[in-house]
């Protein structure tokens, strides 16, 4: 394939490198899976701190979101991987730093999504549950939270796609994932055109997967409305 600038797309090289890129993509997927799992756990905890009737815990929840949503993820990764070891003497593997960084940051966004989801449930639902003699926590568990599932799906799908794309940032802390793999071979063989476009297409395939899955989930949960 020849472009208008006279660059020749090297198919043989692309195909030769494809297994390496796919291996890098495997690491991207692994990172994303860890980040989603821990990010969701962090998000649930922070959301809980924010909605519970306790001013001190509300404040802590707010503080968390303020810090982790307000500092760029790239800077957070540098702090975790390069700055903190200087002070604490604890060096993390790049993978560990990457999972910690993405989960803590993603957790701040997921907490906001969950909080907004819970607060979007009509106030009358809690009142009806309480009027039937349910406790606050029973009402939350059985009445309020189940109603948030469907409305959480679109913003959560969005957030998971963001997390997946954000894993590209960890290439800067020497974590070898999809982008880093592409970078290494683009430089060593001077083939940035083939490597970065192929990497971009692989990212696109991965995010499409999320879009499709979440679209299906949304339809499935739409039955009662």
């Amino acid at each position: 394939m020849i472009t208008s600038f006279g660059i020749v797309w090297d198919w043989a090289f692309t195909i030769k490198m494809l297994p390496l890129l796919i291996k890098g993509a495997g690491m991207t997927v692994t990172l994303t899976a860890f980040a989603i799992t821990f990010g969701t756990i962090v998000g649930l905890i922070i959301a809980f701190l924010k909605i519970i009737k306790n001013p001190v815990l509300n404040y802590l929840g707010g503080l968390y979101t303020w810090v982790f949503r307000g500092i760029p993820l790239l800077v957070q990764l540098f702090i975790i991987h390069y700055a903190l070891p200087v002070a604490t003497g604890i060096n993390f593997e790049p993978f560990v730093s990457a999972v910690i960084g993405i989960s803590l940051c993603g957790g701040a966004y997921i907490a906001e999504i969950i909080r907004a989801g819970i607060q979007s449930v009509d106030k009358g639902q809690m009142e009806a549950a309480l009027s039937l003699g349910m406790s606050y926590s029973q009402a939350m568990r059985k009445i309020i939270i189940p109603q948030t599932y469907r409305r959480l799906i679109p913003p959560m799908g969005n957030e998971f796609i963001t997390l997946l794309k954000d894993t590209a940032l960890v290439s800067t802390i020497t974590m070898v994932e999809l982008l880093r793999t592409a970078q290494i071979y683009a430089a060593s063989h001077f083939k940035p055109f083939e490597m970065f476009i192929t990497a971009g297409l692989i990212y696109l395939m991965l995010t499409t997967f999320f879009t499709v899955i979440f679209g299906k989930l949304e339809n499935k949960l739409a039955q009662s409305e």
């Binding site: 009509d122 639902q125 009806a128 009027s131 003699g133 406790s135 606050y136 109603q147």
Partner: protein, 250 residues
């Protein structure tokens, strides 16, 4: 059955209830009427402690609600006690507030199973009887969104009855309904009154008040202005505010 003593309630600087006194006897049907903003819904909501009162006392079945008295001092009761008392007080809301993620049957059995700790099977049997009573046996497996407003409100009444409450509170139960659907809900409420349920009903349905109420309360500006049997209130109101209100709506 219900005793409201000198109750005050404010939202911020707005005083909604100003020293309300009211007694409801067992089996009595009390209808509360009055212009919007008169505090009638708030009074009802205070009765099951969905709103905290600023001062005064409310006794349900002889027990103080939301508060406990220790050596003459009033303290807030633990949440657990409030939950327990609410289980005996049914409430029907203007906007139905059915649980949209559950079928009609699930709406009816959730609280009895969770709060009363009866078996799912027993709760379902009772629920089906209640649905028959409100004329909705065929809707047990429907979701609330597929029912008309009148049907939803009848389910909401059945859901409250499933807890076998001693008192039923109705907060403008027909105000959100299309006019042609009001009758079916009032019919269910009439049956309930005939069975001897203690009821407090906030409504604008004067026909219902005339026909079913043992006593009518007229509220305005956070106070009970006048109370009496329906024939007296509707034909010979004493208070000028009552006269003014009735002349506007009748």
């Amino acid at each position: 059955m219900i005793k409201v003593e000198n109750v005050n309630k404010s939202f911020g600087t707005l005083e909604v209830l100003k020293g309300v006194n009211l007694t409801v006897a067992p089996g009595e049907v009390v209808v509360v009427i009055g212009p919007s903003g008169s505090g009638k819904s708030t009074l009802l909501r205070c009765m099951n402690y969905l709103e905290k009162i600023n001062c005064g006392r409310i006794y349900i079945d002889g027990k103080l609600i939301g508060l406990r008295e220790i050596n003459g001092r009033l303290l807030e009761a633990p949440a657990r006690e409030v939950y327990k008392m609410r289980a005996d007080i049914g409430m029907v809301f203007q906007r139905f507030n059915l649980f949209p993620h559950m079928t009609v049957l699930e709406n009816l059995i959730e609280a009895p199973v969770l709060v009363r700790k009866i078996s799912k099977q027993e709760a379902a049997e009772r629920a089906l009887k209640l649905l028959e009573k409100v004329g909705l046996s065929d809707k047990a497996n429907s979701y609330p969104a597929h029912l008309s407003g009148g049907q939803q409100q009848r389910v909401a009444i059945a859901r409250a009855l499933a807890m076998e409450p001693k008192i039923m509170l109705f907060d403008e139960p027909t105000s959100a309904l299309d006019p042609e659907l009001v009758g079916e809900v009032l019919a269910v409420m009439k049956d309930l009154a005939k069975e001897g349920m203690t009821m407090v009903v906030v409504t604008h349905e004067m026909g219902f008040a005339k026909e079913v109420a043992d006593r009518v309360i007229f509220m305005d500006e956070g106070k009970i202005m006048e109370e009496g049997i329906p024939s007296q209130i509707f034909t010979n109101p004493k208070h000028p505010r009552t006269r003014e209100f009735l002349s506007k709506i009748l």
